[in-house]
């Protein structure tokens, strides 16, 4: 389990992080979202030890995260870095070796990964000759080659086409299934909503929300009940609970306690009910509300 505990960081007189805390459990995929400059990258760099915090602690399975543990992490920094003049397979293998793999194991892991990421044909090409999307895949391969016990990925999906997104998502899901905590940041909230078990929202260096998507919904986004009644007598909504907005035959109830069965009864009495259902706030809506 990765625990981020009360991180503080200042750059000169600018405060970057104020008491950031959250945890990523084994086998959990954690989506880290926030506006540009909110502190995601700073948090992840501190987690990976390339930046030091002013105060606070990062723990791995209860103990302060040590260098030896971090070697077994897979890391993809925000600004991608690869040796442009080095060949694809050579490069992935090199990082495998640096992370402690034996030569044969590194070679095998590289071949497998390149196959999975559809890069086998480019294995002998210099990285600089690849398209940005393919370089991104190599970057990912570098982060994954040593079968990391945890993944920390800064914007791994940015710049990928839908097929590459699926391939990457599949690899992440597999690591999660193997029991690794997976932490990644993204601006693609639909993707985060689809993939993640838990989400953390950071705004201006503070965590404003974290938990499972369902928890966030319950806490941040109140349910909206949408009812469409055709040929209804005007004023059928009188006396019903919640605040409502009307748009022709469409009526939205917010702040409804309970399951809204009384509203359904009133609607059926009033006319032909074409639609009755809860509108779940999307992560985007939760996010907007949380950072507002």
């Amino acid at each position: 389990m990765i625990e981020i505990d009360d991180l503080h960081k200042r750059y000169g007189d600018k405060t970057a992080l104020t008491g950031v805390s959250f945890a990523v459990k084994p086998g959990e995929m954690f989506g880290f979202v926030g506006a540009n400059g909110a502190g995601k990258t700073t948090t992840m760099r501190i987690l990976m030890g390339v930046l030091s915090a002013d105060s606070g602690q990062v723990r791995w399975n209860g103990a302060p995260l040590a260098f030896a543990d971090r070697r077994r992490f897979g890391y993809m920094p925000e600004e991608r870095g690869l040796y442009q003049k080095m060949k694809v397979a050579e490069q992935v293998e090199y990082f495998g070796r640096l992370n402690g793999l034996a030569p044969a194991a590194a070679r095998q892991a590289t071949a497998d990964l390149l196959e999975r990421l559809s890069l086998t044909e480019r294995a002998g090409d210099e990285v600089g000759a690849l398209s940005l999307g393919n370089q991104q895949r190599v970057q990912l391969a570098v982060a994954l080659v040593h079968e990391p016990q945890a993944l920390v990925l800064d914007e791994p999906f940015s710049g990928l086409d839908p097929i590459a997104v699926d391939a990457l998502a599949e690899v992440l899901v597999e690591r999660r299934r193997a029991g690794a905590p997976v932490l990644f940041s993204s601006h693609q909230l639909d993707l985060v909503e689809r993939l993640c078990d838990a989400v953390g929202i950071i705004s201006a260096g503070r965590m404003v929300a974290s938990g499972t998507v369902a928890e966030l919904r319950a806490k941040e986004g109140r349910g909206v009940l949408k009812v469409v009644v055709r040929e209804a007598a005007p004023g059928w909504t009188a006396g019903l609970p919640g605040d409502l907005t009307t748009d022709g035959d469409e009526v939205r109830f917010t702040g409804v306690d309970g399951d809204g069965q009384e509203i359904l009864r009133a609607a059926t009495a009033a006319g032909r009910v074409e639609h009755f259902g809860w509108e779940r706030p999307s992560l985007t809506e939760i996010f907007r509300e949380a950072v507002a």
């Binding site: 030890g49 600004e79 991608r80």
Partner: protein, 386 residues
């Protein structure tokens, strides 16, 4: 430790196959080969063909002198039937000169100075022998009497017999050291900025320690530079041997070679770590040359001091510069190649340079460690040395 070896190996493999390294290797080898071959070109020919017309005595003396000489210069004789044939051969350039009837030399213009001396010697010996024999002295006694051992050279001042060869070797040493140290330091600097600028360093430093990354880089590029140096020395000495220049090589060549390697390693370690430390302050290749200005100045001053030393090895300036690190790394090997240097001076220079290199390793590694993850604007040296 394995991280360090992996980094070193990567540097050797990837840098060793770049055009820059290969071209540098070939060019430096060619230059040194040419330099070793040059004396041959300016030294004049080392064999002569002499035509002879009815001059058996001179011919015999020439053949004997040539066979018994330890000198490289060989003289071949070629008999001609009459003077006209010899004259034609001289004009055609088939022979360098022709001796006619034991008392005249035909040449196209002037006789080559060395050949002239040889012919004159042979002529003197032959005539002396003839005249003594004509005076009814026993030919065997005459032959014994005119055998004279050549003068033995004894220098009561400095031994200057090898001065020219030593100066030549010293000049090659200074050029090679300058070229290799400069090139390698630049390679180190470029490698550091490549990693910092592309942020690979962030991934690398989650897997290995900064000292492993820095040490591996310096070690790997050092191995390449050492390979380059050894190739250059092999080519230089090989060419010298192949062209027959080796007889003039001064004694103690092994010492000169080993000394050059020793000083190169110290100089390389010092300058490459300095290059790494300075270049870790910047994030873009364009900024490398400006941040390396102090390093380039140091190397240039060392180079000029070393070059000055090849011409004026005995001056106080040369002696002082050969003791002060890091200049000593280029000046001292040139001094030792160029002439005799008291052992205590070499020892002192080595001790000082070793201390300076150790200091540079400590300080340079510290600067590198603190600056290499601070991407963005150029890091001020004062922010990282405290």
């Amino acid at each position: 430790m394995s991280g360090l070896w992996l980094v070193a190996r990567r540097e050797i493999v990837t840098r060793g196959r770049t055009k820059g390294f290969v071209i540098g290797l070939v060019v430096s080898a060619l230059l040194v080969g040419a330099f070793a071959f040059l004396p041959k070109v300016f030294d004049g020919p080392d064999s002569y063909t002499v035509g002879v017309v009815g001059s058996p005595a001179v011919q015999r003396e020439l053949v004997e002198a040539s066979a018994g000489s330890s000198r490289e210069t060989k003289v071949t004789t070629r008999p001609f039937a009459d003077e006209a044939a010899a004259r034609k051969a001289v004009l055609d350039g088939d022979v360098d000169a022709a001796v006619v009837d034991e008392h005249r030399v035909l040449a196209d213009g002037e006789v080559d100075r060395e050949l002239g001396a040889l012919l004159e010697g042979a002529h003197q010996t032959a005539q002396m022998q003839k005249q003594l024999t004509d005076a009814r002295l026993d030919p065997a006694t005459v032959a014994r009497a005119i055998q004279v051992a050549p003068l033995e050279q004894v220098s009561v001042g400095a031994d200057t017999r090898y001065a020219a060869a030593r100066t030549g070797i010293a000049t090659i040493v200074v050029i090679v050291l300058f070229f290799l140290i400069f090139q390698s330091a630049m390679f180190v600097a470029m490698g550091v900025v490549e990693e910092k600028g592309s942020r690979i360093v962030e991934i690398l430093l989650t897997s290995i320690r900064p000292w492993q990354l820095l040490g591996g880089k310096v070690l790997g590029l050092g191995v390449l530079a050492l390979v380059n140096l050894i190739v250059v020395m092999a080519v230089g000495l090989g060419t010298a041997a192949a062209t027959g220049f080796t007889v003039d090589l001064p004694p103690g060549m092994t010492g000169i070679v080993l000394g050059t390697l020793f000083w190169f390693l110290l100089g390389y370690a010092f300058f490459s770590v300095l290059a790494a430390a300075l270049s870790s302050l910047v994030s873009r290749q364009e900024e490398v040359s400006s941040v390396l200005t102090p390093l380039q100045m140091l190397i240039m001053v060392s180079y000029f001091a070393a070059f000055f030393t090849t011409m004026e090895p005995g001056t106080t300036l040369a002696r002082v510069m050969s003791l002060i690190p890091p200049f000593s790394s280029m000046v001292m090997p040139v001094r030792t190649a160029g002439g005799e240097v008291p052992l205590w001076e070499i020892g002192l220079a080595a001790a000082l340079m070793l201390a300076a290199t150790a200091g540079m390793l400590a300080v340079g590694a510290r600067i590198y460690e603190r600056a290499v993850l601070r991407t963005g604007a150029r890091v001020k040296l004062t922010e990282v040395v405290r």
